[in-house]
Amino acid sequence: MKIHIPTPLRSYTGGLETVSIPGGTVDAVFQQLTVKYPDLKQHLFTPEGKLRSFVNVYLNDDDIRYLESKQETAVKDTDELTIIPSIAGGMNL
């Protein structure tokens, strides 16, 4: 399935905007994603493995936190995951 990587996290995916990972469940896809791009992990998950509270993940148009099976939700190859971190722009040091 296609995963949309937002600009602030693209430096951890070698600049890629979208990454393709075979389906399964949301959790399994993220497992594979963070194995492929280990630097992403700490930006998405707490050390306990919980999705960080300033990151939202949408499966197609729905927030995974509100899906019945949450991160265990099964995904198809045609589904899309979008990562939406909180942003604050214009910063420039």
Binding site: T7, S11, S53, F54, D61, D63, A88, G90, N92, L93
Partner: protein, 406 residues
């Protein structure tokens, strides 16, 4: 919100105003009554920067009667790439004064209320309470959570927008029926995890795009027309030129707008966002990213001045200078030092193995990134690492005035 305006007697339009707003008046969805609602409306723009600039200008042009402006900053030449409410002639002026000149020039019927202050927990409720709609165009998390919470507590809609490089977000928060910013993001990222400053910067027209969306939402809220972005998040991608809206839900456990709120008054937002209080010496970004001043030792890393570096270079001392900025920054100005961007230091530390026991001086633009890199090197066993205080900007200020500052 529109009901509060309808309760009061709507102000009449003069013949000159009728001529000015003709294209609104012949639009049935606005018409005379809508234009009078706009004239009666009071909108607070938090920030007159990239987002606030086009936002306030379109609101002024549209005939919003009162626009409040909150900003404590002065106009800098580097603002003009996107903050079109300011101009070359107003560089150095207070932003609220500069913005007023542009807005009143655009529409003399407008009433501008200037709040030349930093919005804080102490003054936010007092400032926000007189306005019908709040438009948050701030660039930092502390103010964003502050504005969000204040809007929820005062029951005011918040036309929100934010941007990062080529991406934007917009929504309407703070209404009774819809979610608030905390429903979307319960907590801000800790300072160490915000995208590094190396990835800062913004395409100048992007805040124009997003600020105009905020203005559109504000006008719709005042007129009571269309479907505001309540419960929806608009994602703007300027490079792909794609617009997506995602459903937002009200979080039943939201500490501010949920049924059993735990935040019932404004809190300390600097503490909430894990940053030190902003000081008078620098902008919020400096406080957040902990740019390092002239302290001799910070977090175990000696801070060396540009004068000291110059002396060492002139004396041909055995030092190794490392530049941890991004390649595109090197092209703007450099000290000729080898370069490893901060984000790659950890991975590429082996390339520096030969320097482990040499005196290593790390530099970046202003001294914040290089401090982080110096800490990493120390952690990796480097024995003599120091940070160039003030970075290449200080070098341009004190050693080489011909060097461009960016």
């Amino acid at each position: 919100m529109p009901t509060t305006i309808e309760e009061i007697v709507l102000p009449k339009l003069s013949n000159d105003e009728i001529a000015r707003y003709s294209r609104h008046l012949i639009l049935p969805e606005v018409g005379m009554e809508g234009q009078q609602k706009l004239k009666a409306a009071k909108v607070l723009c938090v920030g007159t920067g990239g987002l606030g600039a086009p936002l306030a200008m379109y609101l002024a042009a549209a005939g919003v009667g009162t626009i409040g402006l909150v900003d404590f900053d002065t106009v800098d030449a580097s603002n003009l790439q996107r903050q079109i409410i300011h101009s070359t002639a107003t560089v150095g002026k207070l932003k609220v004064d500069s913005a007023e000149i542009m807005l009143k020039g655009l529409n003399p019927y407008l009433n501008v209320v200037k709040h030349n202050t930093m919005l804080t927990s102490a003054n936010a409720l007092e400032i926000l309470k007189d306005y019908d709609v709040i438009a948050d165009g701030t660039d930092n998390f502390q103010t964003r959570y502050l504005v969000n919470d204040a809007c929820v507590l005062l029951n005011k809609p918040n036309a929100y927008g934010s941007i990062f490089r080529f991406e934007g977000q917009a929504s309407v928060f703070g209404t009774k029926e819809g979610p608030c910013y905390r429903c979307l993001y319960p907590e801000p990222p800790p300072p160490g995890l915000v995208p590094s400053c190396a990835e800062g910067g913004v395409l100048g027209i992007l805040p124009g795009l997003v600020g105009v969306i905020q203005a559109t939402e504000t006008i719709k809220l005042i007129l009571g027309i269309g479907e505001p972005l309540i419960g929806r998040l608009l994602l703007v991608d300027a490079l792909g030129m794609s617009f997506r809206t995602l459903k937002l839900r009200k979080n039943p456990d939201c500490p501010v707008c949920g049924p059993s709120p735990t935040v019932t008054e404004l809190i300390d937002y600097d503490q909430f966002c894990g940053i030190e209080k902003p000081t008078s010496v620098g902008p919020l970004e400096v406080a957040r990213d902990k740019a390092v001043g002239d302290h001799p030792i910070v977090e175990g890393i000696p801070q060396i001045t540009v004068e000291e570096l110059k002396r060492k270079l002139d004396a041909k001392e055995d030092i190794f200078v490392l530049d941890v900025r991004e390649p595109h920054e090197y092209l703007i100005a450099n000290l000729g030092a080898p370069q490893i961007p901060l984000g790659e230091v950890e991975r590429r530390v082996s390339e520096l193995a030969a320097q482990k026991n040499r005196e290593v001086i790390v530099h970046c633009r202003s001294g914040a990134r290089s401090q982080k890199a110096a800490l990493m090197l120390k952690q990796a066993g480097f024995t003599n690492v120091s940070n160039l205080a003030g970075g290449i900007l200080a070098w341009a200020d004190k050693i080489d005035p011909s060097m461009p500052k960016y």
